[in-house]
Subunit: 281 residues, 2 copies
């Protein structure tokens, strides 16, 4: 497994792979890998010839007061996990090489980035769209795998790829959960024991709504109320948003008549967690 820091070296490697007719697969990460990331790496490994993982905690997608400085890191652990998943190349750039002096280009999207995490985290998706564009152009993948836990990010990236003609196949990896149902997240390590226990309210709330849908309730406000009742019963959970939206356009839905995403964000102390379920009509 190669580990490279210089964008130009990675780009040269990628060009060489293309000349050799090799299909490049990409899994972008911010490191501190958990089983969720590893599932994406394994999926990508099965679909490509040359597997690239990027490891970059991108400053531009964190807002002021967010957790950039204390985002968890474990470089050595990440590299050995990547190796075990069959990664061929890890691209691990320095921030100064990604955003050198004079950097001034921004990639931004419209309606898809306005609600949900876009509303809670102004500028977040500009940072995501810009860095992902850079990572795509540096690593030149044929396909890239993103986790469905960041559901809005996935929708944004699909749109970005289509709008700018990246010609990259975007593949979603399902949410991987702990035994008690809590979605895996690098941020879970920050939860106090009590908060970790109460974090279960998110997936339980989502599943309560899903259960109501299975029983025949298609009305969004009823489904949302079912989820909110469960989450509201956890005193440490401070709800950021709970929304039911079209799974493709992320427009609000009043009635579930096609695939919709039930998405939640909540803070437990300083730690913000997200989760979602796709509800089938």
């Amino acid at each position: 497994m190669q580990v490279l820091k210089a964008p130009a070296e990675v780009q040269a490697w990628a060009r060489q792979q293309a000349r050799e007719g090799k299909r490049i697969g990409l899994v972008p990460t911010m490191g501190y890998l958990h089983e969720g990331h590893l599932s994406l790496l394994r999926k990508a490994r099965s679909l490509c010839d040359s597997l690239v993982m990027t490891l970059f905690v991108n400053p531009s997608q964190f807002g002021p007061g967010e957790d950039l400085d204390r985002y968890p890191r474990d470089e050595d652990g990440d590299l050995s996990k990547a190796m075990a998943c069959g990664v061929d190349l890890v691209f691990m750039p320095a921030a100064a090489d990604m955003y050198p002096k004079g950097f001034q280009t921004k990639v931004s999207l419209g309606a898809l980035t306005e609600p949900m995490c876009g509303a809670s985290r102004p500028g977040h998706f500009d940072g995501v769209a810009t860095v992902v564009s850079k990572l795509f152009l540096i690593t030149r993948p044929d396909l890239a795998v993103f986790g469905q836990k960041d559901f809005q990010q996935l929708a944004v990236i699909r749109r970005l790829v289509s709008d700018l003609n990246f010609g990259i196949e975007i593949i979603a990896g399902p949410i991987v959960r702990e035994e008690d149902g809590v979605a895996m997240s690098s941020r879970n390590v920050y939860l106090s024991p009590d908060a970790r226990k109460q974090a279960r309210c998110l997936v339980r709330g989502l599943r309560a709504a899903e259960q109501r849908l299975a029983e025949g309730t298609r009305d969004a406000s009823t489904l949302l109320a079912a989820a909110r009742a469960v989450i509201g019963a956890a005193p440490l959970a401070k709800l950021d948003y709970l929304e039911l939206r079209d799974a493709e356009t992320l427009e609000s839905v009043r009635t579930v008549s096609k695939p919709a995403v039930l998405a939640v964000a909540a803070k437990f102390g300083h730690t913000r967690l997200i989760d979602n379920l796709v509800l089938q009509a």
Copy 2:
């Protein structure tokens, strides 16, 4: 020479060229080709294996009230000129295929796009950066040639390529002028005979300043005054801007101590012309 309209077909062609180890050269145009464009095509032809010309009058770089609807077109003439210059592939998309329903991605730059044409034409460089990003991703060139007449555009594209890691060599083609010195432009056809004659004031003004520099004057305001005096003597010329700026950063300069661009934009009736000279320190 192939002529293709579908982005996906062009992208497939470009991938095949890369697999064959061929170096792709790109010249993006809005058509209505004149000798300036042809000089760019010939330059690109000499530097690449497979030459692509794009022909697309990009709506998103025209503002409200600008001349999108009456921008001159001559598709047949353009194709025969392209063929004569050895173009291998013309990409001539429909606007609906470049900006399909739901399109919402914008590529924008900062300080470089604020002065000069950026100030006169709000949103213009967002449109340019976005469409050029798309054209780059569709045609996947190793190098691209842009005319130096659009000096600010060239600076913006160099920065864009560097910032987003396009990995494309950007080459400037010098301004090609009519016999009387007027810079070639597709828009020159709109000038009345009187305006066409007076349009010479732009290059004459620029050269008057250049002459003053050659005589030892490095002070920006003196150089600008020399140019302004010439342009001001042409009654049909309505000056939009006349500026002396650092040739790389486009920051204002007070004294010419490194390469600087003396750039002008003026309207003659409804027709807006631009021109520039790079002054060597």
